[in-house]
Symmetry: C2
Subunit: 193 residues, 2 copies
């Protein structure tokens, strides 16, 4: 007869299943999602959740972090020596336009997290900041490669356009119709790239 | 002896007190604020709240709408014939920088509302969209006065910068250090304004 000890560790895969369900649910419904609903969606017991994480806040932060790789892959082009920095930067804005036109779009998950938790010290804000900084870092590296005069400032401006365009798609509940790409293009041209 | 009938209408001023408290509390803590906490903060009974509004969602939308006049006054300059359209537009970004540097800053309240409620049909999203469109309308009117080639597009771009800069202040938990003003300036220069 197989017995399970009350303090047995959750089965392998439980953590990933919980985080994938959490990322999807928090993105769709916001930080207010309860622990019950979260565990139900993930098919994970509350006991397992609390063996793996100290709190719902920690689950939110870990879920956001785990979702970042796929999000980044959807935005940032693969290494390609044949592409100009300008084209690689605009690829991000074209990808944003495509995302913003999809019915389930709820804005940048990192900005949404930071806006919802209301504190820059919340674990989800810390994760959000790191991943937003990574996007700015991508822009900056490409701008340096392009020989831009002030790659740090221009990279921050491009991130502002990214987040403002994504906010616009949420507020309007409508696609961007090229506005993200043309605004980024205007700033690149103004910056000599 | 004074008696109060169970269906007596809430006293004059109750609505405004409820909405002012709601605007402040929702902005600080998010849409997840409960009815109990809301009524406690406003010093209003739940019975009064439900006599005035059908639901918490309706309170949220009405609070956002009531707060819009003060928010607009803090951003948009008073009519002044001596100021150029460019200066009047940049005034908005200077005001944003000042707001973003204050400790209680949690981003644009309209974007936050739309991001938090997750639906463009939510009453709060409808209010948010109307007030964001009013900001874009202000930019557009000034750009038309300046003779800009494409005032509609440039006004939308400036709103994107406004919202992206405000998102940056939230994500970074830090002031903008001129980034909103200089990004708006870059787009105005690129647009010939």
């Amino acid at each position: 007869m197989t017995t399970t000890r009350p303090d047995a560790a959750p089965a392998a895969g439980t953590r990933d299943r919980l985080l994938d369900a959490a990322a999807e649910l928090f993105y769709r419904e916001g930080v207010g999602v309860g622990v019950e609903a979260l565990c139900r969606a993930a098919g994970v017991s509350k006991r397992s959740m609390y063996q793996l994480f100290e709190s719902k806040d920690e689950v939110f932060a870990a879920a956001l972090d785990r979702s970042a790789a796929a999000y980044r892959a959807a935005l940032i082009p693969a290494a390609d020596v044949g592409e100009t920095p300008r084209a690689r930067i605009l690829h991000v804005f074209e990808a944003l336009e495509a995302q913003a036109a999809s019915p389930g779009y709820r804005g940048c998950p990192f900005v949404a997290a930071a806006v919802e938790v209301k504190s820059p010290e919340h674990p989800a804000s810390v994760v959000a900041r790191r991943h937003k900084d990574a996007l700015t870092g991508f822009f900056q590296a490409e701008l340096e490669r392009a020989g831009a005069a002030d790659p740090v400032t221009l990279a921050r401006r491009l991130t502002i356009v990214f987040d403002g365009a994504s906010a616009r798609a949420v507020v309007q509940g409508a696609p961007l119709d090229g506005l993200a790409v043309t605004t980024a293009t205007a700033l690149l041209s103004h910056g000599g790239v």
